[in-house]
């Protein structure tokens, strides 16, 4: 019986999706003006982690992130909300990693931290593959629960039960620990952190730093170990719409009938 769970929450720093613009001259994505923020679905992950700890009745929540040194800002956000600690996985060698090496690094660190539960956001607003949580589970050969609406811990059985959102309904699935969870975007209401905790996060808190060699994966990360490559990025043609404003409902009825 384990009344204390080690909960690891994975967070990511992304360009603020609302501020990424398309450069009108080149047609390319301009991320540099967009401030770097916490990936919004991860706010739900942090909240789920904190709630889980409360429901289990004890345990430790550690936030981890993979990124360049400025990414520690999202660890500060997690700590300000109530996470106990944060770990920054940072190394030049990680550059160019797709989900395969990224989830490997996070998986190894989760193992290092002796995680019972790893919680992630549903997907990131920049790459939005949603494949890191299953990737972490696969690298560690752990159980997984994705598209989670609600969590129900059963510490007495070393099991975590989740309500999963599936097409046309839901299912309740129980997974053996350790387990990787992906929380549905918007499924909970992230709390506001206390003032003094936030000051702590801004001042005294320092994340631990870990590099590829510490994790023993220096030859398994980076562009060379990324099976997928981005062949090109272009602006999506905005869907061409007729933008017709009608005066009478008769005309609208006609349009509807035509569309059917």
């Amino acid at each position: 019986m384990n009344e204390d769970w080690n909960i690891v929450v994975c967070v990511k720093q992304v360009p603020d999706a609302d501020d990424v613009t398309i450069d009108p001259e080149t047609g390319r994505l301009n991320r540099s003006d967009a401030p770097a923020v916490l990936n919004s679905p991860d706010a739900n992950a942090i909240e789920a982690a904190l709630e889980l700890r409360e429901r289990v009745g004890g345990g430790r929540v550690t936030a981890i992130t993979m990124g360049p040194p400025p990414a520690s800002a999202v660890l500060e956000v997690a700590v300000a909300l109530g996470a106990d600690d944060g770990v920054l996985l940072t190394d030049r060698a990680f550059g160019g990693s797709d989900t395969w090496p990224t989830s490997l690094a996070l998986a190894r660190e989760a193992e290092e931290l002796d995680a019972d539960v790893v919680i992630c956001g549903e997907e990131s607003t920049d790459s939005s593959t949603g494949q890191v949580p299953p990737g972490i589970a696969a690298h560690n050969e752990w159980a997984q629960l994705t598209y989670v609406e609600e969590l129900e811990p059963r510490p007495e059985d070393d099991e975590l039960i989740a309500r999963r959102d599936v097409e046309g309904g839901y299912e309740r699935v129980g997974a053996e620990l350790p387990v990787v969870v992906a929380v549905g975007f918007g499924e909970n209401d992230p709390r506001t952190g206390g003032l003094h905790r936030k000051i702590y996060a801004e001042t005294e808190f320092e994340p631990d730093t870990v590099d590829a060699t510490d994790l023993g994966i220096e030859d398994e990360v980076g562009l060379a170990n990324s099976p997928t490559k981005v062949g090109g990025m272009d602006t999506a043609d905005p869907v061409a719409r007729e933008n017709e404003i009608l005066e009478s409902t008769d005309e609208l009825t006609e349009r509807i009938e035509e569309a059917m």
Binding site: E167, G169, Y170
Partner: protein, 347 residues
């Protein structure tokens, strides 16, 4: 990791997702696209079926265009769980070495695909909206990023298989060849369906399904017509539901309508809701915030009704009316109902 010899990998595989004998529509859509890709690459199209008592589904896949089907049939696969599906699929992939693997981008496909791609170090592109092959036969998988503002083209040059999960509703489903019912000609089918070794044992599994309830909750991703209620409804969605009924469609909702409790969450469209691609989307009292547009901007035809002429939704609609939805929507409903009656009389 040593690079694989890509020449050892052949064939386009399509995963046929089924739950308790019901095939997910996206699987037939991918079968059609898989056929096209297989023909372009001069390779075979193979259907992958996992479940319990699924031979008929395999035959259906062949009737709809697959050259062969590989079937893993065992009680351990019903109901669906990520770890048994992942382990089995991975074993078959390692054994048979497919070139391309297509999986529907459902909460099932996007759940277990990673459990195949990671141990095999396959290249997995998730949530694609477009597929193609380049001159060398390499799969080009295109997907939206940044809330749909940009499209990325992903390739997997040195690793196999090339895997992709694909959004539902992008392709037209593969139909059975004219006049042919499933299992019509068993002689022709013989040898086309192969039962593979089941590598998963119940004691090895790490999850269990306590309950599964589908069909009681609306699946708006499947509807051809959606009529959505937004903040402008101010608590009363009855007129919007009536319009949906007369159009034989489903009620959908913006986040505001769901947060206020006027419509159940399963009907929410948008960034924190569902992504839909119906033939017709009617937005009633919806302002058109980016987070909502992201969920419905691929609809074939969009109609907007809002009393604010500056509402952004009008820029993303084909046809619109500026007006009070409580006047406009019942009028539309009445006119469409009369139209229906007229059509019945004329017929």
């Amino acid at each position: 990791m040593s690079d694989v010899n890509v020449d050892d990998y052949d064939d386009v595989w399509v995963f046929v997702e089924q739950h308790a004998g019901t095939v997910a529509p996206v699987s037939w859509e991918l079968l059609a696209e898989g056929r096209r890709l297989a023909d372009e690459k001069d390779e075979a199209l193979v259907a992958l079926v996992i479940g319990e008592d699924v031979e008929e589904i395999a035959a259906d896949a062949i009737a709809r265009g697959a050259d062969r089907a590989l079937v893993a049939d065992d009680p351990v696969f019903e109901p669906y769980r990520a770890d048994p599906y992942g382990a089995q699929f991975r074993a078959v992939v390692e054994d048979r070495k497919p070139d391309v693997v297509l999986i529907g981008g459902t909460h099932t496909g996007r759940d277990f695909a990673g459990r195949v791609a990671v141990p095999t170090m396959a290249g997995l592109t998730a949530d694609c909206t477009e597929l193609d092959v380049d001159d060398e036969g390499l799969l080009l998988a295109r997907r939206p990023t940044f809330e749909g503002d940009a499209m990325a083209t992903i390739k997997c040059p040195d690793h196999r298989p090339q895997m992709a999960t694909v959004r539902a509703g992008v392709y037209e489903p593969a139909e059975r060849e004219d006049g042919q019912a499933v299992g019509d000609d068993p002689a022709e089918r013989e040898g086309a369906i192969e039962f593979v070794d089941v590598v998963v044992d119940e004691p090895d599994t790490v999850s269990r399904v306590l309950e599964r309830e589908v069909g009681t909750v609306a699946d708006i991703t499947d509807a051809d017509v959606l009529v959505a209620a937004g903040g402008g409804c101010d608590g009363d969605v009855a007129p919007v539901q009536e319009l949906a009924d007369v159009l034989d469609g489903e009620l959908a909702a913006s986040r505001k309508a769901v947060d206020e409790g006027w419509v159940e969450p399963s009907r929410q469209v948008g960034q924190t809701g569902k992504t839909v691609r119906p033939d017709l989307y009617v937005a009633c009292g919806i302002s058109g915030a980016v987070q909502h547009l992201e969920g419905m901007n691929d609809s074939a035809t969009v109609i907007a009704i809002n009393d604010d002429p500056n509402a952004p939704i009008f820029e993303h609609a084909d046809h619109g009316i500026v007006g009070d939805l409580f006047d406009v929507v019942p009028e539309l409903t009445a006119q469409l109902r009369d139209g229906d009656d007229r059509r019945v009389i004329d017929a």
